[in-house]
Symmetry: C2
Subunit: 188 residues, 2 copies
DNA sequence: GTCTATACGATGATAGAC
DNA sequence: GTCTATCATCGTATAGAC
């Protein structure tokens, strides 16, 4: 594996564990085992490296959600898999957790996050419509709003877990969301 | 107003707009008009100042939610006011937005955030039980999980809005959550 | 491609005059 | 209480040898 890959791997880890601002070139070098020369040979700077690392992260995460929302599964199973799936609560979402950082918000790093959010939302949207068609959810449901709500529960669950330093609150949020979906399904 | 108050006001603003790590003593000085001497006279350092500033922020925010959840209002009105209330979507929650920062998570600043989250959740919990008692929500509802879910929708809505740089997604998440609550209310 | 040496401003804090 | 030096260290990047 090349130094370039080592650098990207280190950046992926540090971005998840510490965020963008806290990820200094020095830390990247220590974790990757590469020297500063390699960093600035392969990338224009820290931001460019972060961009490359997060592009890979986004690709990995898309693959995961593609699996969660596989159309082989019944719509309601897709929803429960999405809502109840196990997550690293205290680390936060690998992309979403960066959205509050000033530099991230102001640069094209933010585009990677936004694109990923829209990608997941599209999956949710499709799944909700499939569930309607299958008679599992009421037709009057606004798929647009509903999909963003479910997505927000997950992103917010991470925030609750970290703010309280207690992973259980993410799980509570997940359970509550799934209970609401089930109630909608039964109640119509 | 004393320099101490000026410093705290500046910190409150910067913490909201930029976060903790991005709030440098230099920026604090410029915004507050105080010199470095004043900063280190009144506070032990940047972290101590942040702690004092965020304690004030938490007090202000508690007052706001106390109002939203006033027991003078019908339970369902409290819930709609909480869920649909107008927010500064692109700035994020003044406390929640800090939870992903490494230093915040590792220090007692995090306690302020967790305490606030629990405070809001307690209000939600009470309101949900009041709604049950009034016959507005089904008795089988898990108030614990439900309250954390609704709270997560708001916190997650901020993340969606910032990640996409589009305030509308917070509003979608809010609408979807309220629609679910209404459906639960009608459907039981 | 990779490394070490060097540069330079910013960060976070201290010392001491007023 | 407030201000202006001053300081050590870090963050970020460049230069140039190997």
């Amino acid at each position: 594996m090349s130094k370039r890959d080592d650098l990207i791997d280190a950046a992926k880890t540090l971005l998840w564990e510490q965020g963008f601002e806290a990820m200094s070139p020095k830390k990247i070098m220590r974790l990757s085992g590469a020297g500063q020369g390699s960093l600035y040979h392969h990338f224009e700077g820290k931001q460019d490296l972060a961009l490359a690392a997060l592009a890979e992260v986004a690709t990995e995460m898309r693959a995961v959600v593609d699996d969660v929302f596989s159309e082989d599964k019944a719509p309601m199973d897709r929803l429960s898999d999405y809502l109840l799936g196990s997550r690293q609560e205290l680390n936060g979402c690998r992309l979403g957790r960066l959205s509050n950082e000033k530099t991230v918000y102001e640069t094209n790093i933010c585009t990677i996050i936004g694109d990923y959010f829209n990608y997941v939302s599209q999956h949710l949207h499709t799944t909700i419509n499939d569930a309607k068609a299958a008679g599992d959810l009421p037709h009057h449901l606004d798929a647009d709003a509903f999909s963003r709500s479910l997505q927000a529960v997950i992103q917010g669950g991470y925030i609750l877990a970290r703010g309280t330093r207690d992973a259980a609150f993410m799980n509570k949020a997940q359970e509550g969301a799934w209970a609401m979906v089930e109630a909608l399904s039964r109640g119509h």
